[in-house]
Symmetry: none
Subunit: 228 residues, 2 copies
DNA sequence: TCAATTGTTAAGTTTCTGTTAATAAACTGT
DNA sequence: ACAGTTTATTAACAGAAACTTAACAATTGA
């Protein structure tokens, strides 16, 4: 779930935005302080996007935008008042991704939030997308695996798990590492889940090759074992 | 002969520009309406460049610039008044290629027009507008598809989507990527839209060939699957 | 205006995913 | 080697998530 940070000192706007965000399945987080925007963006778990009112009490919004841009790519949408053209202009000049004029229609805000997230998501997609071994090809571009020339349909979680293991052949991963790497940082669930997915992969890759297979490392985790 | 579109509500400017353009061997075309700028740029025979005064009577010039950029690469030069800094900056932020401050020297305008055209011509390499596979031809020049020799009428969005998918056979596109690539960055809409268009395409291409079809990649997106 | 295209919504269906619990296997200390 | 303990395998189920589809609403252009 993506978290959106709302920085606005007007309570009414803030609440309207939080409500709209929640309705569309976003997590939200509000502050009135520019300093806090910065510390949240710098912190452990930065928001996916910032909705920024440029006239915050403690700091100039444009400065905030500039500074956020100096250390991260977190997208920023400026929530300027109708007549505050200067803020819009400067914001965009300093790297804001969009602007919205107050008073706003929350549906428009949501649409723009989604559009900006969509745009920014695109260019951080994985680069290295193809792995080939003896009679095994994993192509994350096509989202399919070829085993002995035959295309094997694998659901997303399974192919991602296989891809991750096969990207580091012979390296053992603990279940916790796999949950972090494949399921993602914030996943909270039982690590037996891994076992089940390994099992499902195994039944599909069963006896295909003796050069590679999914090996259990007892008491530790799993690895993609590759010989010769 | 390249055609330049002048969008300005001031008759004096317009005539000065038209004269200068003609003298340098350009065709010109003038309007006072923002809506017309858009329809001309979208039309059959779009201009090679737009000279845009941001304060048009019917629409905000910046919006126009943004919108033109959302569906094409036609270069735009902003003709802002001396004190309208906001328009300049916003215009550039939204993809304008240059700006000129009024009152202008027509020789300077011509120099910039030529410079911008030179720059953009380099990028506008001829695009591949024809795709052919086993009994499928997509001709984006004519905006039509032939399937088994028979012309199949497809509305614009559908053929654009099909063309884009078919341009990268077997590659999976997420809904977000398709919205960006086919609908454009500025599109604010729901990604379920993709599903509906896929469905419409499918009913039209149904069972035409077993060499290719539109495939759902569960949890990821869609692809144009091509065999052999 | 009408008709065609495009976008939205919601119900219905399919596929996948995580959990549980029973069973099997591997290790441990004696 | 044995009993006891820990860990892994497996199948079955329930719920969640994703896709399909149809019908309707909005938009666009003739």
């Amino acid at each position: 779930m993506e978290r959106i940070l709302i920085a606005d000192d007007d309570k009414t706007s803030r609440e309207a935005l939080q409500l709209a965000l929640r309705r569309d399945g976003f997590e939200s987080l509000a502050t009135q302080s520019g300093a806090e925007v910065l510390s949240l963006c710098k912190g452990e778990n930065p928001p996916a996007l910032v909705l920024l009112e440029p006239a915050l009490p403690d700091r100039d919004g444009i400065e905030i935008c500039k500074e956020v841009r100096s250390f991260s790519d977190i997208p920023v949408i400026i929530l300027s008042s109708r007549d505050d053209v200067a803020a819009k202009v400067l914001g965009l000049a300093f790297g804001a991704d969009d602007y919205i004029t107050k008073p706003f229609d929350t549906r428009e805000v949501m649409a723009r939030v989604k559009a900006v997230l969509r745009r920014t998501r695109i260019h951080n997609k994985p680069k290295n997308t193809l792995i080939t071994y003896e009679n095994l090809i994993i192509d994350m571009n096509r989202y399919e695996a070829k085993i002995g020339g035959k295309v094997c349909e694998l659901p997303p979680k399974e192919i991602e798990l296989l891809f991750h293991l096969a990207s580091n052949p012979n390296k053992v991963f603990t279940r916790d590492e796999l949950l972090d790497d494949v399921w993602g940082f914030e996943y909270y669930g039982d690590s037996r889940t891994i076992d089940v997915h390994i099992k499902r992969l195994r039944t599909k890759l069963d006896g295909v090759s003796d050069k590679w297979f999914l090996k259990t490392v007892w008491g530790v985790g799993y690895k993609f074992e590759l010989n010769e």
